[in-house]
């Protein structure tokens, strides 16, 4: 299949979380999200209770997909970065390792220049993590799901 399943384990997730936390701190941003290109959130740092991260992740992925569509129309490979400037909060989005979107929400506590600088460092760290993940065999995951029975699936939907 063209899109291999994305499976993340404790070790990678804690490494990814550490990158998100460090970027959040070093860039003085409000929030950092790490989102799969399909719109599923992988990690976040600095999220407050009001922020709907599920919706935000899906919209960010839609936005990046639309921009990717524009890129291919004009024969560009990919627009790796996007920036939306707001009155209070601005959004910086970067595509990492071709399949992950690094989203930074920031306000006047920092500058776009500092965010971009710190994002570049985080980009390198995340690329290394996702490249090593891509080369990792995924045998262990299959065993867990092979145990799922038809009854388990039926039970999900209730009587």
């Amino acid at each position: 299949m063209l899109n291999p399943q994305l499976a993340l384990y404790d070790q990678e997730l804690s490494e990814i979380q550490a990158v998100a936390d460090k970027l959040h701190q070093d860039s003085r941003a409000r929030t950092v999200l790490i989102v799969d290109k399909n719109g599923q959130m992988i990690a976040a740092s600095g999220v407050d209770a009001q922020l709907d991260t599920t919706s935000l992740s899906s919209l960010v992925a839609g936005n990046v997909a639309a921009t990717g569509g524009i890129a291919s129309l004009i024969k560009e490979d990919e627009f790796t970065g996007q920036y939306h400037e707001g009155k209070e909060i601005s959004v910086h989005m970067t595509i990492v390792a071709r399949r992950i979107i690094l989203v930074v929400l920031f306000d006047k506590n920092t500058t776009q220049g500092l965010v971009r600088l710190r994002v570049r460092k985080a980009d390198d760290a995340l690329t290394a993590i996702f490249e090593s993940l891509a080369s990792k065999p995924q045998a262990a995951q299959e065993d867990v799901f092979k145990e799922i029975t038809d009854e388990d699936i039926d039970n999900l939907f209730g009587p």
Partner: protein, 195 residues
């Protein structure tokens, strides 16, 4: 492409509702949204025009409960049905785990159904998927309308690969959850195969 988070013990899957313009894709999602307990659903997002036609997609996150200690989360998307939004439809199909084709049962929409189904097959192939092998269900919507074509006729024309199909009236909700359940079940069964 499902996303399995072993650390948080979560399975995330993407389901797409496809079909011709005004066939009832958004109505399916709205009914699911209205009938789901608040703790099991997120916010429904509709990127629509001022006349409430889908412009890019509708999105509804659902939690169906736990399976072997893993929380199952389904992200439901619709595509814009109007012919000229084809570029957007292709984008939404990226990473799909299961497809529901919503057919409009009305006689005057048969051509639109066939065109949309051909378009689905073509767009999936472009992404490297095969409609004959991915989790897939068909819903014959608008069964309540007077000009509805008999189901057997719809089945012969649209369900040539004999996938699970359901009669529905998305406005009243008839058949909506049966369709979703059948598709989610196929996606989870596929996951068990380890694909």
């Amino acid at each position: 492409m499902s996303f399995i988070n072993y650390s948080a013990r979560e399975i995330n899957c993407k389901l797409v509702y496809y079909g011709p313009g005004l066939c009832g894709k958004t109505t399916n999602l709205q009914f699911i949204y209205n009938k789901t307990r608040p703790e099991s659903k997120g916010k429904m997002i509709s990127l629509a025009t001022e006349t409430e036609r889908t412009l890019f997609f509708d999105f509804l996150p659902l939690s169906l409960g736990e399976i072997r200690g893993f929380k199952t989360r389904f992200h439901l998307y619709t595509v814009p049905g109007q012919v000229f939004y084809d570029a957007s439809r292709k984008l939404i199909l990226k990473g799909v785990d299961g497809v529901c084709f919503v057919a409009d049962s009305q006689l005057e929409r048969m051509e639109a159904n066939i065109e949309s189904l051909d378009n689905l097959r073509f767009n999936l192939e472009e992404q490297g998927y095969d409609l004959d092998t991915i989790p897939y269900v068909i819903q014959y919507n608008k069964r309540d309308l007077p000009s509805a074509v008999p189901v057997e006729e719809l089945r012969t024309t649209l369900n040539t690969s004999d996938v699970p199909d359901f009669e529905a009236c998305a406005v009243t909700g008839e058949g909506v959850f049966d369709t979703l359940k059948a598709l989610a079940k196929q996606v989870l069964t596929e996951l068990r195969k380890g694909t």
